[in-house]
């Protein structure tokens, strides 16, 4: 996606499908020690879109995350976390649509519980079926440019490649793949998973991502609210830097001070 938006004037919205967002951070709600911390992180990150998962009702549960998101005035993005097959993911998406009255779904189809990496064929299968069923599909995918392209081709509203495994905090292990995905994408590219700290988010935006989704980096930070604020700034800085047009890398130095007019003090008397 082009980065030639007018960042300076502050008019640089993120557009996914038919919705426009003022913030380029998506927040994963998992891992926060309390709903209060989640609420504080939502405010500090300035996110407008927050993921939730579907689980069996638990009478012992205190408070409702839906109420927290309502109070914060942010949109809810249900996910299919925990699904290992297209069939379970599709069913979960339909339950989410029923529960939250939204056709938006963060599609996760995991290959195994050790790496939590996407299962490419099942993911593509589920994406196709959900798009046909009228969903706005945001798939959590690998950093494979071909898979990203095929997800776009079947009608996904965005692609959400990982930088590194969920919760690993390893950042972007393969910037080249991400750059290729961005170069060829016709839909927004959202970095999903792997962000460990601010510079990871800045780099993602400099590589041309349109947004960053972060959960663990914020929720599990020593100070989640401060990290939420840090990532918000990091995403804006990275977006602005890409728009500003960085200098090229070169192996050798390039003087920042012109040599002309340099004084000559003669050779050392000593």
């Amino acid at each position: 996606m082009s980065a030639h938006a007018d960042v300076r004037s502050g008019v640089d919205p993120l557009v996914i499908a038919d919705r426009t967002f003022g913030s380029r951070i998506l927040l994963g709600s998992g891992g926060f020690a309390s709903l209060e911390l989640l609420a504080a992180a939502i405010e500090a990150s300035r996110t407008e879109l927050v993921t939730v998962a579907l689980r069996r009702v638990d009478p012992a549960a205190r408070g409702s995350i839906v109420d927290v998101l309502d109070a914060a005035g942010v949109a809810l993005l249900p996910n299919t976390a925990g699904c290992y097959t297209a069939r379970d993911a599709v069913l979960t998406a339909r339950l989410a649509r029923e529960a939250f009255d939204t056709t938006w779904i963060k599609l996760e189809v995991i290959g195994d519980d050790r790496t939590l990496l996407p299962d490419a064929p099942e993911l593509l299968l589920a994406a196709e079926e959900l798009v046909d069923d009228g969903f706005t599909v945001l798939p959590y995918t690998t950093d494979d440019p071909v898979l990203a392209r095929r997800l776009e081709d079947v009608g996904c509203a965005a692609v959400m490649p990982l930088g590194s495994p969920i919760g690993s905090g390893m950042g972007i292990c393969n910037p080249y793949n991400l750059a290729i995905i961005v170069e060829r994408a016709g839909v927004p590219v959202v970095l999903d998973a792997g962000v460990g700290t601010a510079s990871d988010a800045t780099l993602a935006m400099e590589l041309g991502c349109d947004a960053v989704l972060s959960a663990s980096a914020i929720a599990r930070a020593h100070d989640p609210t401060a990290m939420a604020r840090a990532l918000a700034g990091a995403v804006e800085a990275g977006r602005a830097a890409r728009t500003a047009g960085r200098i090229p890398r070169r192996l050798h130095a390039e003087p920042s001070t012109a040599p002309q007019g340099l004084a000559e003090f003669g050779d050392d008397g000593g």
Partner: protein
């Protein structure tokens, strides 16, 4: 008759509906954000009252939690 609700066996009256079962779960508030699947099929909220459970039916009553 016996049905499975969120993985646990429950003894419910013959002819019990999805609504009856949801009732037994002490869900706070207006049940916003709750969805039900019976035998791996979504049951839209509008049909909870009508939808009668068969014996051995597997009922999943789900809601939002922190995640992702």
């Amino acid at each position: 008759m016996i049905v499975r609700v969120n993985g646990e066996h429950r003894d419910v009256a013959d002819g019990a509906t999805v609504a009856d079962v949801v009732e037994t779960l002490d869900i706070g508030g207006d049940r916003r954000g709750v969805a039900v699947a019976v035998d791996a099929e979504v049951v839209p909220r509008g049909q909870w009252e009508q939808r009668v459970l068969a014996p051995e039916a597997s009922v999943e009553v789900l809601t939002a939690i922190q995640g992702g």
